[in-house]
């Protein structure tokens, strides 16, 4: 909706998906639309993340690229050549599966060598590449182990080595970190990103974890209900969400729906359904929005501060709750008209902690440039 496929202007797209649709028959009867005319161009050597809630179609899209599903309609191109209908074993694409899918009857080295063996790579070259791949994922010397003897993190690395040893053009990763504990997941995120840089292979990564997506990706495609809601760099997605769904899915936000009440060339005033009026600087690309247009506004909690600055707008509110989360305080307040408002108070910034007790009045200040304006969803 908010996103149109970028025109191929000399940019190298390794994978191109054109107007792809896919529906499944639901077990309870009826039809579930997994993909609804999705177009997506994936650049060479980029780390692209498909991000969305479960059932948004991200896994279906990934499986279609890998060859495990076919689109009902639409095109799929690898390096400009159609690969639609090609079986998985004829695609120079490898997958790291969610449950790793390591062969239990083969050793770690045999698992990694599998792709080379079926491709008929000679023994000497095979052994060299297997050793190099295991070394790359930090499992040098573990080749003789059985996969079942390894920890979850190590199995993950074997699955990774087994895929990259084949030097695929594209590596697909289906929520590979979801089974790992938080600390391991964070270190694997960095390792994966480094590995991708080192190899220069395109990574297409599926996750429902926004933090994972923001940490690793060059670009993120946010998906919902079988469509791509927004495609862009992590900061773009976070700072300038295309619609209410993206704003709500990524990070914590204050989301308000309202209408443009007054505007001039420079500033806007939006009266929100929740009973507050927000004053803001007009952003690029909002010229089409005239007075009376329905809009959604996102105001990130970290932009709300307790102290006024130059060009800030004050909001009076009453604190309802403040939650201590280590470096920050999450403050939930409510304006006189009943609109909820979340603020993030960074504790290290002040010498003394202000009184943020429930019931205390507070004035929150936001920079006039902070609110982000989005055209209202047709659905809402």
């Amino acid at each position: 909706m908010g996103y149109a496929a970028p025109a191929a202007t000399g940019e190298r797209h390794i994978i191109r998906i054109e107007a792809a649709s896919k529906a499944f028959r639901a077990p309870e009867g009826g039809v579930v639309t997994a993909l609804d005319r999705v177009s997506l161009a994936i650049r060479g050597n980029e780390f692209l993340t498909l991000l969305g809630p479960s059932g948004c179609g991200k896994t279906t899209l990934l499986r279609a690229i890998g060859g495990f599903e076919d689109f009902d309609s639409g095109g799929l191109y690898l390096d400009g050549q159609s690969i639609a209908g090609l079986p998985p074993y004829r695609r120079p694409i490898n997958t790291v599966f969610q449950n790793y899918a390591l062969f239990p009857h083969l050793s770690v080295a045999q698992n990694v060598a599998y792709g080379l063996e079926v491709a008929g790579v000679g023994k000497a070259e095979r052994e060299g590449r297997v050793a190099a791949a295991l070394d790359m994922v930090g499992l040098a010397g573990m080749g003789q182990r059985n996969p079942r003897q390894l920890s979850g993190g190590q199995q993950q690395r074997v699955a990774l080595a087994r895929a990259i040893v084949n030097r695929p053009k594209v590596l697909l990763l289906d929520e590979p970190l979801s089974a790992l504990d938080r600390q391991l997941r964070q270190s694997m995120q960095i390792e994966l990103k480094n590995l991708q840089h080192e190899l220069g292979i395109t990574f297409v990564f599926v996750t429902h974890d926004q933090e994972e997506a923001l940490t690793m990706s060059d670009r993120i495609a946010v998906m919902n209900r079988g469509t791509i809601q927004q495609l862009g760099a992590p900061d773009e997605i976070y700072d300038r969400p295309a619609n209410r769904f993206v704003a709500g899915f990524i990070g914590i936000s204050n989301l308000y729906a309202g209408r443009i009440a007054a505007s001039d060339s420079d500033t806007l005033r939006v009266d929100c359904a929740e009973g507050i009026s927000l004053l803001m600087r007009r952003q690029a690309g909002t010229a089409a929005l005239a007075e009376g247009s329905a809009v959604d506004i996102v105001l990130r909690p970290e932009h709300l501060s307790l102290t006024p600055g130059s060009k800030t707008v004050p909001i009076d509110a009453t604190i309802e709750q403040s939650v201590f989360v280590g470096s920050d305080l999450h403050v939930l307040a409510r304006t006189g008209s009943g609109a909820p408002i979340r603020a993030l108070y960074r504790r290290s910034q002040a010498e003394h902690e202000p009184a943020l007790q429930p019931g205390a009045p507070v004035t929150l200040h936001y920079p006039v440039t902070a609110p982000h304006l989005m055209p209202a969803d047709a659905a809402s």
Binding site: G66, G67, F68, P87, P88, Y89, I93, N94, T95, F97, N99, A101, L102, F103, P104, H105, L106, S107, V108, Y114, G115, V118, A119, Q144, R145, N146, Q149, R162, A163, N166
Partner: protein, 311 residues
């Protein structure tokens, strides 16, 4: 404090004793059953096989090694020549048992994949249908096959009516008929273990194999077959052994023409009344099966060691 320190290990010891007693109690029935109804009769058989045959059945209590000589076709004494008839029957029985194993496997393996892909309700129905023949008596089921295969049976009648043949085909009383009967009777014994291993096969491994570039044939050979092999081998053993020893199917569908080893043994005990010879034949079958089992166990242990890696 001191009481606890003393009583704890005592408690521990009594717990261990209780566990041992419970284990002994639980294993007692099966030990008793196998002891009385398996080990003792087997011992009697082994003993009888080296005793002198009595004139009207039974045995005389003197050592007599010639029953084994006869089984192996070795000349007994003056005037007798090498006659490998029993070895031939053993070989034929082995051949038919192997054929039975092969056919039940060829039928069960694809069927197991098909059934494991069904919805749970249909899967349960399929399993019920597969075990359904057990509810009818074995003899009745074999008689049904006689009605199907005999010259005036269902197949010949239909083919003649259709004008495809003018003389009835002689299907019954042949090795083929016996194998058909054995396959029919033993099919569930192959299907169930094969199905269990196919069901357990993680389908994501098949996808991973395809993803890594393996053609369907390579995936079958390198992933599906090795991972379902335990079921195939288990099914093969529990089909092979009864197929080799079966005499009901052979006597009904094979008639007097197709003798299997089980028939010879039955004859020796019931008609020829040469118990020691029958016992020697039975020991021969058992030895053959045991040798095959040992080879199998040895191979499986070796492949287990291989997959276990450096453990």
């Amino acid at each position: 404090m001191s009481i606890a320190a003393i009583s704890a290990p005592v408690e521990h010891a009594s717990q261990a004793a209780r566990r041992r007693r419970n284990l002994a109690l639980m294993l007692a029935p099966i030990t008793l059953l196998l002891g009385i109804f398996f080990v003792v009769p087997l011992g009697i058989m082994a003993l009888y096989s080296v005793l002198t045959p009595g004139l009207y059945g039974g045995v005389e209590w003197s050592f007599y090694p010639y029953s084994y000589g006869r089984v192996l076709g070795a000349p007994l004494g003056a005037g007798e020549v090498f006659d490998p008839v029993y070895l031939e029957i053993l070989l034929r029985s082995l051949k038919m048992a192997f054929l039975t194993v092969l056919l039940t496997l060829l039928i069960s393996y694809p069927a197991a994949f098909w059934v494991s892909g069904l919805s749970p309700a249909r899967r349960n129905l399929a399993m019920f249908l597969i075990t359904l023949p057990f509810f009818a008596n074995l003899l009745i089921r074999i008689y049904a096959w006689m009605l199907i295969l005999r010259p005036s049976g269902v197949i010949n009648t239909v083919l003649k009516e259709l004008g495809l043949i003018d003389k009835p085909m002689m299907m019954i009383f042949s090795e083929g008929a016996v194998v058909i009967g054995l396959v029919y009777v033993l099919l569930p014994f192959m299907f169930l273990p094969v199905y269990a291993s196919v069901e357990r096969l993680d389908r994501s491994l098949v996808q991973a194999s395809a993803d890594l570039g393996a053609t369907p044939l390579q995936t079958f050979r390198r992933v599906i077959l090795p991972l379902t092999l335990p079921g195939i081998i288990g099914g093969s053993i529990i089909v092979f052994i009864p197929a080799l020893g079966n005499f009901v199917v052979a006597s009904l569908l094979g008639g007097a023409k197709v003798l299997m080893f089980g028939n010879i043994i039955t004859q020796q005990f019931l008609q020829a009344r040469n118990w020691p010879f029958g016992a020697a034949l039975a020991m021969m079958v058992m030895a053959t099966v045991l040798v095959m089992l040992f080879i199998y166990v040895f191979k499986v242990m070796r492949s287990d060691q291989r997959t276990a890696g450096g453990r």
